[in-house]
C-alpha cells in the first residue's frame, strides 16, 4: 500500500486552504479555481478508495488503507488513520460535499480568500474525524472544526448570525468538553488512545477504576449535542438558518454526522454492555427527537429553518437505529446518515438558490415559482421526496432498514411500540415537506418573481450529481450496505448479537 490515500485526502484541502490564505495577490477567480482543484482531487481519490475497498466477507471489521506512525510518545498517541465499512461512506460523503460546496459557493464575492480558506479547513477537519483511529487525533480534528464554522456563520451568514455562531461554538465546546473528559477517563482507564486496541481489549479494567457508564455518557453527551438529540438541539436551527448556504450544506450534510459516527464508533463499540443497559432510555430519546422535531418543523415559516428542524427529526432515526443495537438497524442508521447528508445537503443547496435568486425566504411570501424556475423546482421536489422517505430515494432505503432493524430488535423491550411511533414520524414529515413544496413552487404565479432566474449550468452540475446519488442509493442500496455491513458486523460480535 504505497500511496497514502487517506493522508492525501485529509490534508489536501488544508494545503489548499493555506495556499489560498497566504498566496499574495490572488484574483478571486483563481481562488475559487484553487479551491475547486484542492477539493476535487480528494473527492476523486475517495471515490477511487470506495471502488478499491475490499468488500469480501473476509474483510469484515478490517481497517483498510491504514496508516500509523508514532505522534506523541509521551502520551502514547499515534497518527493513526484508516477506514472501515462504517467510516468509508461518510468519508466519501464529505469529500463529495466538500467539492460540491465549493461549486455552491461560486457566487461568493465577500472576502472570498478567507471564505474558501475556512471552508477547506473545515473539510479537512471533518474528513479527519471520520478517518482517525486514535482518540486524541479524533478529538483534535473534532475541535478544529469549530473555528472555521464560527467564521463561516458569523461573517458570511444572515440574520442573527453572530448570535448563532457564538451559540454554535458554545454548544459544541460544551459537548466536546464532556467528551474530552470521557476520552481522558478512557485513556487512563485503558492506558491506550487507540480505538482499535480499546475495542479489541474490552474494558475489563475500567470496571475496577470507574463505572463505564460514566465514561459512556460523558462521550454520549458530546455526540448528542452534535447529532443533535432533543433537548440538546437548539443550536441547530439557529446555526443552520443563519449559516451561508455552503455552511448549512456542510453542517447538515456532514458535520452532524460526526455525532452519529462517534456514537457508533466509541459509545457502542467500546461500551457494548452499557449501551445495552441504557438502550431503552436512549431509544425513547430517539423517538422523542423524531416526533418532537417533526412537530416543531411543521410550524416553521422560514424556508431554511424548516429544513433545519427537519434534520432533528431525521437524526432521530439515526439515534433509534444505533441504540436498538441490531445489525440491520445499525446499517440503516449509517445509511441514513449518508442519505440524509446527501438529501438535506441538496435541500439546503437548492433552498439557498431559491433565496438567492428570488430574494425571499419566508414561506408565506413565496409561491408559484415552479413556473419561473422549473429546474430548481424539480430538483427541490426530488430532494423533498427523498426527505419524506419516498421509495427509490435513498431516504426510503435508509429509514426502512432502520425500521426493520429496530422493529425486530431484541435489546429494548416493547421496541415495536417505539418503532411504530417513529414510523408515525414519516406521516408528519410528508406533511411539512409537501407543505413547503407547495408554498414555494405551487399556487398562483406571482408577478414579483417574474425576473427570477433558474439554475445556471454550474448549479445544474451539483444538483444533478446529488440527485443521481440519491436515486442510485435509493434504487440499489446494496452499493453502500455491502460496505457498511463490513463495518457493523464486528460491532455486532462485540454486542454478542
Amino acid at each position: 500500500m504505497g500511496f497514502n490515500y487517506l493522508t492525501t485526502i485529509i490534508f489536501l484541502p488544508l494545503v489548499g486552504a493555506i495556499l489560498i490564505a497566504f498566496l499574495p495577490n490572488l484574483r478571486d477567480q483563481y481562488i475559487k479555481r484553487l479551491a475547486a482543484i484542492f477539493t476535487f482531487i480528494p473527492m476523486a481519490l475517495s471515490i477511487l478508495l470506495f471502488c478499491q475497498f475490499d468488500r469480501s466477507a473476509g474483510a469484515a471489521g478490517l481497517i483498510q488503507f491504514e496508516e500509523k506512525l508514532s505522534w506523541i510518545p509521551a502520551i502514547n498517541a499515534h497518527y493513526h488513520v484508516g477506514v472501515d465499512g462504517l467510516s468509508l461512506p461518510l468519508v466519501v460523503l464529505m469529500a463529495l460535499l466538500g467539492f460540491l460546496v465549493v461549486l455552491i459557493s461560486w457566487k461568493i464575492n465577500l472576502r472570498p480568500r478567507e471564505y474558501f480558506a475556512w471552508l477547506l479547513l473545515l473539510e479537512t477537519s471533518i474528513l479527519g474525524v471520520f478517518c482517525s483511529l486514535d482518540l486524541l487525533l479524533f478529538f483534535l480534528f473534532w475541535e478544529i472544526e469549530v473555528i472555521p464554522m464560527y467564521f463561516l456563520i458569523s461573517i458570511w451568514g444572515t440574520g442573527r448570525k453572530e448570535y448563532s455562531a457564538m451559540k454554535y461554538v458554545i454548544y459544541t465546546l460544551f459537548g466536546s468538553a464532556l467528551m474530552l473528559t470521557g476520552i481522558l477517563s478512557l485513556y487512563f482507564t485503558t492506558g491506550s488512545l487507540s480505538m482499535v486496541e480499546i475495542a479489541r481489549g474490552g474494558l475489563g479494567m475500567v470496571q475496577s477504576i470507574m463505572r463505564p457508564a460514566i465514561i459512556f455518557f460523558l462521550l454520549f453527551i458530546g455526540f448528542a449535542v452534535k447529532l443533535p438529540v432533543v433537548p440538546l438541539h437548539t443550536w441547530l436551527p439557529d446555526a443552520h438558518t443563519d449559516a451561508p448556504t455552503a455552511g448549512s450544506v456542510v453542517l447538515a450534510g456532514a458535520l452532524i454526522k460526526m455525532g452519529g459516527y462517534g456514537m457508533i464508533r466509541l459509545c457502542v463499540s467500546l461500551f457494548p454492555q452499557v449501551a445495552r443497559d441504557y438502550a431503552t432510555i436512549l431509544v425513547a430519546f430517539a423517538v422523542v427527537s423524531v416526533l418532537y422535531g417533526a412537530a416543531v418543523t411543521l410550524r416553521q415559516t422560514d424556508l431554511k429553518r424548516l429544513i433545519a428542524y427537519s434534520s432533528i427529526s431525521h437524526m432521530g432515526y439515526v439515534l433509534l437505529g444505533i441504540f436498538v443495537l441490531g445489525e440491520v438497524s445499525l446499517v440503516g442508521a449509517t445509511l441514513q446518515m449518508f442519505s440524509h447528508g446527501v438529501i438535506t445537503g441538496l435541500l439546503f443547496a437548492v433552498a439557498g438558490l431559491v433565496m438567492h435568486n428570488a430574494g425571499e425566504r419566508d414561506l408565506r411570501q413565496l409561491g408559484g415559482l415552479a413556473r419561473q424556475i422549473p429546474i430548481i423546482a424539480v430538483v427541490f421536489s426530488v430532494a423533498g421526496l427523498g426527505a419524506l422517505g419516498l421509495p427509490t430515494t435513498s431516504g426510503f432505503a435508509a429509514e426502512f432498514l432502520v425500521f426493520v432493524g429496530s422493529f425486530s430488535s431484541t435489546v429494548v423491550p416493547g421496541i415495536q411500540v417505539y418503532t411504530i411511533l417513529a414510523v408515525l414520524g414519516i406521516v408528519i414529515t410528508a406533511g411539512y415537506i409537501l407543505w413547503m413544496l407547495q408554498r414555494v413552487f405551487y399556487g398562483p404565479v406571482l408577478e414579483k418573481f417574474n425576473g427570477v432566474v433558474d439554475a445556471d449550468n454550474l448549479e445544474k452540475v451539483y444538483m444533478f450529481v446529488l440527485v443521481a446519488v440519491i436515486m442510485l442509493v435509493g434504487i440499489y442500496p446494496a452499493v453502500l450496505t455491502d460496505v457498511i455491513k463490513l463495518g457493523i458486523s464486528p460491532i455486532m460480535s462485540l454486542l454478542g448479537g
Binding site: 418532537y292 441490531g326 440491520v328 419516498l390 421509495p391 411504530i420 408515525l424 407547495q438 455491513k485 458486523s489
Partner: protein
C-alpha cells in the same frame, strides 16, 4: 418466450418516462406530440405483453408463472430482501385492466391535453404512473409492493397538482398524499410486524405461513388490519375517503385512469393480494366487510346531491370501491376483483365522458349543461351505456359483478346486504340524475358545445364495448375458475339462468326505481328537486356538506388541535422552554461576571484584606477538617 420478458411490462412505461423527462422535454420540446406517442407506444407494448402473460397464465397448470428474483439488499444474519415478480391470475387480470384503461386514457389525452403547456410533463407522469401501477400488481413481496405503492401515490400527487398554479389543485394534491400516507403508515407497520414475526417479505411465503397457522392470532389480525388501513387510504374508504373528491382537481383523464380505474382500486387489489392473511382472521375480514358496506352507501348518499359532475363520479367511485371491499370480504377474491375488473372500464368511460363534456362546455357544473345529447351523440350514447352498466342493469357488465357481491353479502351479513341494496337504488338515481341533467333538457351554459374529436371518442367507444361485454367473462364462471373456485357452466345457461333467481330481480327493480325517480325529478319534472330538497333539507345539507368531514379533519383536527394547538405548544416550548433555558444559563453567567467584578474595587487594602481572609479561611478549614 422466456418469462423474464414480463419485467418489460413495467419497465417499458418507466423507460418512456425516463425518455420523455430526460430527453424529449429538455431537448425536443418543440415537438410536443412526441412524448404522447412514446407513452402510447410503450403502453401498447405492455398491453401486448400483458395479454400474452394472461394467456400463459390461463395455460399454466396452477395459473402461475415462476420468475427468478433479483437481490436488493443482503445483510448476513440481518435482512435479505429480494425483488421479484409474481405472475398469477390476479396479476394477469390487473395487468389487463391497467394496460387497457391506461392505453385508452393516453389516446384520449392526446385530444384532451392538446396544447397544454405541461404536455410533456403530463405524459411523463402518466407513463411513470402506469409503470408503477404495473409494478404494484406485479410485485411479489410486500416491500417491493410498498415501493410501487408509494410511487403511484406520488404520481397521483403530481397529477392532481398538475395545474399547480390553481390553489385548489395544489391543496388537493397535498391532501391526497398526506391522507394516503396516513393509511400507508399502517401498511408499513404491518409490513414490519409481519417481517418481525414471519421473517420474510415474500407474499407467497406469508400466505403459506398464514395457511399453515404458524402466523396467526392477534399478530395476524393486526397485520391484516394494518394492511387494510393502507388499502383504506388508497381506495378512499371511510374514514380516509376525504381526499378523493378533491382529487378531481386534476385533469379528467387522470381522474379516469388513476382515481377511478386503477390506483384507487389498488387498495382492493392489495387486500386481494394478501387475502389469505385476512381469510384466517375473522376480525379482519369483518372489519373489511363493514367498512366496505358502510362506505358504499355513505359515499353514495353524498353522490346524490353533488352538482359537480366529476364529484358525483368520485363519490360513486368510492361507493363502488366499497362494494368491492364488501365483495372481497364476503365472497372472496374472485368476486371483488371481478367487480374491480368491470368497474374499471365503465367508470373510466364515465370519466372520459365527463371530460368530453367538460371539453365541450368548459365546466363541470351540471347546472351549466343540458341538452348535450343532440350535439354530442357519441358521448351521450357511451355515457348512458356506462351508467346503465354501473346501475347494474342486465345484461351489462356491472350487473354481473354487483349481483355476485349482493348474493355473497346476503350470505354473510344481512345488514350489509340491506345497505348494499339501498346503494343499488341510490347509484341508479345519481347516475341518471347526471345523465338527465347533462344530456337531457336544453343547454343552459354559454358557447356552442360540439362533439369531441375522434381521438377522444374512439377510446370511449372501445371502453363502452368493454363496459358491455366485460361482464360476460364470468357468466360462464370462467373468471372465478381462474381464481380457483366456482364451477363453469354454459354461457347461455348462465346468461339467462340468472334471471330465474329472485335476488337479481330485486336489485333490478331497485335500480329501475332509481332511474325512474331521476327521470321524474330531472327530466319530466313531475316533482321539483328544490321542493324535495327543502322537504329533506336537513338530510340534504348533511349530504351536501359531506357530513362535515372536511371541516372535522382539516379545520378542527389537523388545523386547531394539532398544528395550531399541540404543535404550536411544542414550538413555544422549544423557543421559550428549551432554548430559553440555554440562553438563561448564558445570561446568568454573564450577570454573575458583572456582579463579581464589583468586588474588584481598586482598593488595594481590600485586596490585602482578601489575602488575610483567604489565609484564615484555609487555615480554619484545615484545622476544623483535619
Amino acid at each position: 418466450m422466456p418469462h423474464q420478458l414480463i419485467w418489460l411490462i413495467l419497465l417499458l412505461p418507466l423507460l418512456s418516462f425516463v425518455i420523455t423527462s430526460l430527453f424529449i422535454r429538455p431537448f425536443l420540446s418543440h415537438s410536443p406530440k412526441l412524448s404522447g406517442y412514446i407513452t402510447i407506444a410503450s403502453i401498447c407494448g405492455s398491453l401486448i405483453l400483458s395479454v400474452w402473460a394472461l394467456l400463459e397464465v390461463l395455460a399454466a397448470p396452477n395459473h402461475e408463472l415462476p420468475i427468478p428474483d433479483i437481490s436488493w439488499v443482503i445483510i448476513e444474519g440481518g435482512v435479505t430482501i429480494h425483488l421479484g415478480l409474481i405472475m398469477d391470475s390476479l396479476t394477469a387480470v390487473m395487468l389487463i385492466v391497467v394496460t387497457v384503461v391506461s392505453l385508452m386514457v393516453q389516446v384520449y389525452s392526446q385530444g384532451y391535453m392538446h396544447g397544454d403547456p405541461g404536455y410533456h410533463r403530463y405524459f411523463a407522469f402518466m407513463s411513470l404512473f402506469t409503470g408503477s401501477m404495473l409494478g404494484l400488481v406485479l410485485a411479489d413481496n410486500l416491500l417491493f409492493l410498498y415501493v410501487f405503492w408509494e410511487l403511484v401515490g406520488l404520481c397521483s400527487y403530481l397529477l392532481i397538482g398538475f395545474w399547480f398554479h390553481k390553489p385548489a389543485a395544489r391543496n388537493a394534491a397535498t391532501k391526497a398524499f398526506v391522507v394516503t400516507r396516513l393509511g400507508d403508515f399502517g401498511f408499513l407497520a404491518a409490513i414490519l410486524s409481519l417481517y418481525f414475526n414471519a421473517g420474510t417479505f415474500d407474499i407467497a411465503e406469508l400466505h403459506s405461513l398464514a395457511i399453515a397457522g404458524t402466523l396467526g392470532g392477534a399478530v395476524l389480525t393486526w397485520a391484516a388490519i394494518g394492511i387494510f388501513s393502507g388499502a383504506v387510504g388508497k381506495s378512499a374508504q371511510f374514514p380516509l375517503h376525504v381526499w378523493l373528491p378533491d382529487a378531481m382537481e386534476g385533469p379528467t383523464p387522470v381522474s379516469a385512469l388513476i382515481h377511478a380505474a386503477t390506483m384507487v382500486a389498488a387498495g382492493v387489489f392489495l387486500v386481494a393480494r394478501t387475502y389469505p392473511l385476512f381469510a384466517h382472521s375473522v376480525e379482519a375480514v369483518t372489519t373489511v366487510a363493514i367498512i366496505g358496506g358502510f362506505t358504499a352507501i355513505f359515499a353514495a348518499s353524498m353522490g346524490l346531491v353533488m352538482t359537480d359532475i366529476k364529484r358525483v363520479l368520485a363519490y360513486s367511485t368510492i361507493s363502488q370501491l366499497g362494494y368491492m371491499m364488501l365483495g372481497l370480504a364476503t365472497g372472496g377474491v374472485a368476486i371483488g376483483i371481478f367487480h374491480l375488473f368491470n368497474h374499471a372500464f365503465f367508470k373510466a368511460l364515465l370519466f372520459l365522458g365527463a371530460g368530453s363534456v367538460n371539453h365541450a362546455t368548459g365546466t363541470f357544473d351540471m347546472h351549466q349543461m343540458g341538452g348535450l345529447r343532440k350535439v354530442m351523440p357519441w358521448t351521450y350514447a357511451t355515457f348512458v351505456i356506462a351508467s346503465l352498466s354501473i346501475a347494474g342493469i342486465w345484461p351489462l357488465s356491472g350487473f354481473w359483478s354487483k349481483d355476485e357481491i349482493l348474493a355473497s353479502s346476503l350470505g354473510a351479513q344481512p345488514v350489509l346486504f340491506v345497505l348494499a341494496m339501498l346503494t343499488v337504488f341510490m347509484t341508479a338515481f345519481y347516475m341518471f340524475r347526471v345523465v338527465f341533467l347533462t344530456f337531457g333538457g336544453d343547454y343552459r351554459g354559454e358557447g356552442k358545445p360540439h362533439e369531441s374529436a375522434s381521438v377522444m371518442v374512439v377510446p370511449m367507444v372501445i371502453l363502452a364495448i368493454l363496459a358491455v361485454v366485460s361482464g360476460f367473462w364470468n357468466v360462464t364462471g370462467g373468471f372465478s375458475q381462474l381464481f380457483g373456485h366456482g364451477e363453469t357452466q354454459s354461457f347461455a345457461r348462465g346468461f339467462f339462468g340468472i334471471l330465474a333467481h329472485p335476488l337479481p330481480w330485486i336489485s333490478l327493480i331497485l335500480a329501475g326505481l332509481g332511474i325512474l325517480l331521476a327521470y321524474a325529478m330531472y327530466s319530466a319534472k313531475w316533482l321539483s328537486a328544490e321542493s324535495l330538497g327543502r322537504l329533506f333539507s336537513p338530510l340534504y345539507t348533511l349530504f351536501y356538506r359531506k357530513y362535515w368531514f372536511d371541516e372535522l379533519y382539516e379545520r378542527l383536527f389537523v388545523g386547531k388541535a394539532l398544528i395550531n394547538g399541540f404543535f404550536a405548544g411544542l414550538q413555544q416550548f422549544d423557543n421559550n422552554g428549551v432554548d430559553g433555558a440555554v440562553n438563561g444559563i448564558a445570561n446568568a453567567t454573564i450577570a454573575g461576571g458583572r456582579a463579581i467584578r464589583r468586588v474588584q474595587t481598586g482598593q488595594l487594602q481590600l485586596y490585602g484584606l482578601f489575602i488575610g481572609i483567604g489565609i484564615l479561611a484555609i487555615v480554619l478549614c484545615v484545622y476544623l477538617v483535619g
